[in-house]
Symmetry: C2
Subunit: 206 residues, 2 copies
Amino acid sequence: MSRRSYHHGNLKEALIRAALDLIAQHGPAGFTFAEAARTAGVSPAAPYRHFRDRDELMADVARRGFARFEAVLELAWSQGRPDPFTAFERIGRAYLAFARDESAYYSAMFETGVPLDVNPDLAAAGDRTLAVLKQAAEAICARLPPERRPPPLMMALHVWSLSHGVASLFGRGDAARRKLPMAAEDLLEAGVLVYLQGLGLGARTP
Amino acid sequence: MSRRSYHHGNLKEALIRAALDLIAQHGPAGFTFAEAARTAGVSPAAPYRHFRDRDELMADVARRGFARFEAVLELAWSQGRPDPFTAFERIGRAYLAFARDESAYYSAMFETGVPLDVNPDLAAAGDRTLAVLKQAAEAICARLPPERRPPPLMMALHVWSLSHGVASLFGRGDAARRKLPMAAEDLLEAGVLVYLQGLGLGARTP
DNA sequence: CAATTGATGTAAGACCGTCTTACATCCGCC
DNA sequence: GGCGGATGTAAGACGGTCTTACATCAATTG
């Protein structure tokens, strides 16, 4: 597709990439529709052919972010191989790695206040991501005798909350974040280990 | 102070209150310097006499938020009376109550990306808040034999992360947040209980 | 093989918010 | 009673959002 032609050819994708770049550079707030258009080399009005407004572009970025996040977590889990505990630890590290390396996606997903109730697709993408965590939690819970088995959804929500908390408060090099005496990864891993211990899953002994 | 006089009389305070109202109504992003000025009944340029820019007003709101938050958590802890575990549970509930009831402050503190490294006062206010959590963690850890005693700072960071995660993801009525099959307070309490159990603090038996 | 038509981009402009500069008013203090 | 600093206003440059009217292109279709 010639760069000289009147039509861009793939403006929608270009705008999404521009949004990611701009969010990565200037934070989730420092991104404007107009600048995304400039980055893509089109007029300020062109993006409106593809997105109703700035928020819709942001929501689309968030939706794609959830899809990637789901794939990343699914890969980390790898059906619980070689054993659920090793795989569960991989999920925690993958979570923080995504928050750090795909910071623009993570911002769009969790730090922009995109309303879920008017974005069914976005909500569904988030649900699928949660489902990966829940699946992992189920495999872990299955190691416990039924009478001491917690609800897997609750366990998934705990792990998600702890991971999101660590990522938000300490997870990125960002100047807005607090400095830590330890790596965020180690903080999260220690927290999850204590949590699993608390469920009665002491040091990987079924 | 007459509302008719040329000078407002207490514009700085009025702007902060206006900022809180506007954040509460339209979210942390939907607040403008100009609208705060309108709310206070002054010209759009007047706020610049009191704050260098919009971010400085936001940072001031965040700083005050941390001071209030610290007071709330300190009150909830109440020097660990009647016993550290009861007091610790109160902290968790107070955390979520603050995030819900003082939503505007909480947003300014954690969701606006105010850089900490250029706001020493803000960073210090945040540190004092963390100190309350650390103090509580120390009292809890003291119940454990020294050889099984975790670093209190780590424990404080875990509890903070979990609380912040629950508050961010599920804590507010906000349309941006996900619906839950349980109250956020119960989710957090259950998580903290499992965590304490994992530290070897089973069901409040020293 | 045009001609039409819908999709895509541009031009222009209304409106709003940020922030600056120059000026007006007021209060406290000597 | 008037000086000076503090506080507010007026006006305007600049940029972002979004709309409306128009231009261009590409693909279908007769």
